[in-house]
């Protein structure tokens, strides 16, 4: 059996290649994801250890918790800078260098636009110029005095900023002009993983970062012969309560750990797409093996006739699949490594400069990837293997070699059962409190169920879809008939495309629904005329709002700031608002209590969240801040609308008392009575020219901006789904190739009686277009259902509207048809080049 298996594998090289490819891409995605994230983890690990390599111990205030992955990751209370003297007095301390850091965004002198901020942060820091520090001087000199700065080499290179240039730098407080006296790097790297950096001498940094008399950390170096742990213990002994000393190694591990947990999320997201790709690949394996088994019916029957048992036949098919899965897995791992290396290069091209670490290929990556390839192929070939074993020995004697056609009836109960199970699982995942895993599983099972059922409608559907192809004359008609002659095959070929397109349609619908819901939210809850937001993720300094308050054209001005905190054992976002003006710019729809009560240690909580925790008015709500630890607030009211302010709202005074970074996420304002919005907008824009990182928008622009953000996310997801679509196109190529081989006699006959090559091509392309269209239409239908189901389940969580972007879906279907035609091209050319005589030769 072994020999027979391998012979049959090798006999069909092209087929094998295409089939393998459908698994290779999925496996490659898995391997690539692991390699990329492992390499990035290793890179950050190395980076943070390099940064602290000349430091032995770091002194900083204790953090209540690590708010990993959030925008304001390290919300520690700054220490009085006098702590340096305390540390210096410890026996064994060679040097103690105080540090401050914070937000500092460099403005491109050429364009006046702030640099970076969307992604890696814009960092400002103190730098003593001490050569033992992580920052190394590349050229020029260390900055001294209130008007000097040094910037990172990557930013300097990219924006053509040189020594002696004057640059404007934005802070939480007032912006300031500096002369660039130095260009700095981090060892080999030109910047810190994409962050921009501006450094100042310590007193200047304290002043511009609004930390006069304070230090965020003190880097401590040990005398020779003193170990880091010894020094740590000695230093810790003299530190006041609330301030800790940790070894530089531990510090680096903690920093790297924060990045790694963020990367873990990224990895999971990528793996979801890899699973989709593998799932689609499974469809293609199933289809290919089914066709191959059908075409080998006679050979299998012969094997059975000469005494092979059913089990042996099953095993031989499974073995063939396993071999293919292993080969595909191995190629996939190699491809994945290639993809990861390519992606890294791409990140580099986007200015995210990481120190080069060797590509991380862990045993886990290889094992998981190989297992994924093997599992998908073997599972997908179980059904064809069982079918093969069911071939009766008498089939060997059948003249036409084709097995008796099986009825589609049995598909009805099976299809309905599987679809129902899928929808049920999906529903459980969405509303029954199930996890996201159930949603994915339910969607996958639903796709399988629909694919099973779709065989039943292939005939009428192909007739309908192929109707316009009558314009092609006989080739069009024959193409349509060919797509109808084997409904199972057509169903599972188009099924693979259905998955990709279904998900794309779902994403499009979800995006449209979110956009439309956001529009409604803005209409229902926002009373402001003007919206200030930052060009970076970090927000902008509080000055902008103060400037706005001075304008006569502006009436109410209200700031919003956010911070990650812990409430009742979970992570939560807390919003700081201005109680005196928030009611004029937003409508929270108070359910109990009042906005007016929001002062001192009062907190407002979204009504449902409050109910979940069983809080009622006057109850204490404990909020744990990274900087100040647990603080007790009193519930002063509940509100309905959480779209703008989230679940927890505290007065700005409390926010300022408990949070280190005071950056406005947004400022909402209204035009003064008697002033038109346009006038107010103009006044705001001209007053804010000194704040290049602040963007002023009116309602229409704000809406458009929100829509753009949704679209950007959806486009990214759609792009990743295209891989699944690509794989399904390979499936079309593969199936058509196999079908053409099966129909070679018929094609030879058509050619003999006068069909031209062009007509043969048209015939194949017509079939391929129909298969693609069927898949696209089914996918769209399933996608609409998913979109509806998900929207319903999120109706109370901000996605109140259901919208179908008709034009976009129609475009997807049209593009799928075009892609189908392109996929049909290779088989079409091959069909048209079949040698007539080979084809009509009677074997």
């Amino acid at each position: 059996m072994w020999r027979a298996t391998f012979k049959s594998l090798l006999a069909r090289k092209v087929r094998l290649l295409l089939t393998t490819l459908s698994v290779v891409l999925g496996v490659g995605f898995v391997a690539g994801t692991f390699v990329l994230t492992d390499t990035m983890n290793a890179t950050f690990d190395q980076l943070f250890h390099n940064l602290t390599k000349n430091t032995d111990v770091i002194v900083q205030s204790r953090s209540a918790f690590d708010s990993a992955g959030s925008n304001n990751a390290d919300q520690r209370e700054p220490m009085p800078d006098s702590i340096v003297h305390t540390i210096e007095s410890v026996n064994g301390v060679a040097k103690a260098i105080p540090q401050v850091n914070g937000f500092a965004q460099i403005v491109d002198p050429a364009t006046g636009k702030p640099i970076g901020g969307m992604g890696p942060p814009a960092i400002g820091a103190s730098w003593s110029g001490d050569p033992s520090e992580a920052i190394t001087l590349r050229s020029g000199a260390a900055p001294h005095g209130p008007d000097e700065t040094a910037i990172d080499a990557a930013t300097a290179r990219k924006y053509g900023i040189g020594l002696g240039d004057r640059v404007k730098i934005l802070f939480e407080g007032p912006s300031h002009l500096f002369t660039v006296t130095g260009i700095v790097g981090f060892g080999q790297a030109d910047n810190l993983a994409g962050a921009t950096l501006a450094v100042f001498d310590f007193p200047t940094a304290q002043r511009v970062l609004d930390k006069v008399g304070l230090a965020d950390a003190v880097d401590v170096q040990a005398d020779p012969g003193i170990s880091a742990t010894t020094l740590r213990d000695r230093v810790a002994a003299v530190l006041p309560k609330g301030i800790e000393a940790i070894t530089a190694t531990d510090f680096a591990d903690q920093q790297a750990g924060q990045i790694q947990s963020a990367l873990g999320f990224f990895r999971t997201a990528l793996l979801v797409f890899a699973v989709v790709a593998l799932f689609v690949g499974g469809f293609i394996i199933l289809n290919t093996f089914t066709i191959i088994v059908t075409q080998r019916t006679r050979e299998l029957a012969l094997l059975r006739a000469i005494g092979a048992s059913r089990g042996q036949v099953t095993r031989s098919v499974l073995l063939e699949a396993a071999t293919l899965g292993m080969v595909a897995g191995a190629i996939g791992v190699v491809a994945g490594i290639g993809i990861a290396v390519g992606l890294q290069a791409l990140l580099g091209a986007f200015g995210i400069d990481l120190p080069s670490t060797s590509t991380q290929i862990l045993p886990r990556t290889v094992i998981v990837s190989l297992a994924a390839g093997l599992l998908v192929t073997v599972i997908a070939s179980v059904v064809p293997a069982r079918r093969a074993s069911a071939v009766a020995p008498v089939e060997a004697l059948r003249a036409d070699g084709a097995p008796a056609a099986r009825s589609l009836r049995r598909r009805v109960p099976a299809g309905i059962a599987v679809t129902a199970a899928g929808v049920g699982t999906l529903a459980y995942g969405l509303v029954g409190g199930g996890a996201l895993l159930f949603v994915g599983l339910g969607a996958a099972v639903t796709f399988v169920g629909v694919a099973i059922l779709s065989a039943l409608i292939v005939r009428p559907a192909a007739t309908a879809v192929g109707w316009p192809l009558r314009a092609l004359g006989l080739p069009g008609r024959l193409g349509r008939e060919n797509s109808r002659r084997n409904p199972r095959r057509t169903a599972s070929t188009s099924g693979a495309l259905m998955v990709g397109l279904g998900l794309m349609a779902f994403v499009a619908i979800f995006g449209a629904s979110v956009r439309s819901s956001v529009d409604h939210v803005i209409a229902d809850t926002v009373r402001a005329d003007l919206f200030l937001s930052s060009s970076s993720f970090e927000g902008f300094g509080p000055d902008a709002a103060q400037v706005l308050r001075t304008l006569p054209q502006i009436d109410a001005v209200s700031e919003f700031r956010v911070v990650q905190a812990r409430i009742a054992g979970g992570n939560a976002t807390v919003t700081g608002v201005d109680p005196s003006s928030i009611g004029r710019v937003a409508n929270l729809e108070m359910r109990s209590g009042s906005l007016g009560a929001l002062r001192g240690d009062a907190v407002l909580v979204q009504a449902d969240t409050a109910a979940e925790h069983g809080w009622s008015l006057g109850d204490p709500v404990r909020i744990e801040f990274a900087r100040t630890g647990t603080q007790t607030f009193t519930l002063a009211g509940t509100y309905e609308r959480d779209e703008i302010v989230g679940q927890y709202v505290i007065p700005m005074s409390a926010f300022e008392a408990n949070v280190t970074t005071q950056l406005d996420q947004a400022v909402l304002a209204t035009a003064a009575p008697g002033t038109s919005v346009a006038e107010a907008e103009r006044a705001a824009r001209s007053a804010l020219t000194d704040f290049p990182n602040v963007q002023v928008r009116n309602q229409a622009e704000f809406r458009a901006q929100q829509a753009k953000q949704v679209d950007a996310a959806m486009s990214l997801i759609t792009a990743l789904l295209l891989l699944a679509v690509l794989i399904s196109l390979f499936g079309i190529v593969n199936t058509l190739g196999l079908s053409i081989h099966e129909r070679r006699h018929e094609i030879g006959l058509l050619r003999a009686v006068g069909m031209s090559r062009a007509q043969v091509r048209r015939m194949v392309l017509a079939e391929s277009a129909i298969v693609a269209l069927l898949g696209a239409l089914l996918g769209t239908a399933v996608g609409i259902f998913f979109g509806w189901a998900v929207q319903r389940s999120l109706a109370d969580h901000g996605v109140s509207q259901f919208a179908i972007p008709g034009g976009q879906l129609a475009l997807y279907v049209a593009l799928a048809a075009v892609a189908g035609v392109l996929a049909g091209f290779v088989p079409a050319v091959r069909a048209s080049r079949l040698r007539i005589l080979d084809a009509i030769a009677y074997e």
Partner: protein, 255 residues
């Protein structure tokens, strides 16, 4: 392009033959593996005649038929259909010529399984985008006696019926010549006889020209003329044949 123009364009000696071959050689493969299937054949098939080609297995009958029908190219020599030299035609022209001027019946794989009997019959017309000539279609259908089966698919027809549909398809374009390679090879004697009578009728009543390869002396006896092939060469011929005389001649060839 209209094929009649092609006819006048091309030089070549005028002839009354529907198709003919001159000095035909066909070698398959090369070097040691080379097989010479045809070794210099010159033959003409007269109009309105039913010719049978006979010979031992491997004597080159199918090869001759394929080369004459433009399905394969000769290694040497010329093939004419009417006055058109097939060896000078492009692939496209050759396809057109097969479509418009030739008819085919093979031993198997004669019908397109997705099309009904009627659609199979009009296949060459549909390929050409020609409106079928209703009158002639009816004549052909009535002659093969399958009017009640026209809507059936090939899988619903018996082997004999399938071959008759194939014959009807070969005739429906009123081709200059019909080539048939063992059309009765898979049929029982009764179905074979029906098909052969139909072919002979087409020759007698509408002046169709037919060339048929067969192994069966009885089948060959339906023809007006029998050409014998042996070892890639012509090995005699016979007019107004009977099954016994054919059998006798065959014995001399195989000896």
């Amino acid at each position: 392009m209209d094929t009649s123009t092609t006819t006048t364009d091309l030089p070549g000696p005028p002839s009354t033959a529907a198709a003919r071959a001159e000095g035909l050689r066909k070698v398959y493969g090369s070097g040691d593996a080379a097989v010479e299937a045809l070794r210099g054949i010159t033959i003409a098939f007269e109009r309105e005649q039913f010719t049978a080609i006979m010979g031992p297995s491997g004597s080159g009958k199918s090869t001759l038929l394929h080369v004459m029908a433009g399905l394969d190219t000769p290694t040497e020599g010329r093939v004419y259909v009417g006055d058109v030299d097939l060896t000078t035609l492009s692939e496209r022209k050759l396809t057109q010529l097969r479509r418009d001027r030739l008819g085919f019946v093979f031993q198997a794989f004669n019908l397109v399984p997705t099309l009904t009997a009627a659609e199979n019959i009009t296949l060459p017309l549909d390929i050409a985008g020609r409106k079928d000539e209703r009158g002639w279609f009816d004549v052909v259908v009535d002659t093969i006696g399958l009017r009640d089966r026209l809507r059936h698919r090939p899988s619903e027809l018996s082997g004999g019926q399938q071959q008759r549909v194939a014959a009807a398809r070969a005739l429906v374009t009123r081709p200059e010549i019909v080539f048939a390679d063992e059309p009765t090879g898979n049929l029982d004697s009764r179905s074979g006889a029906e098909l052969l009578s139909f072919l002979r009728q087409a020759v007698r009543e509408v002046g169709q020209t037919i060339v048929m390869v067969t192994h069966d002396p009885v089948a060959a006896s339906y023809a007006d003329r029998v050409v014998f092939l042996a070892d890639g060469k012509i090995a005699g011929e016979m007019t107004e044949p009977t099954a016994e005389r054919i059998l006798d001649h065959m014995k001399t060839l195989e000896a």
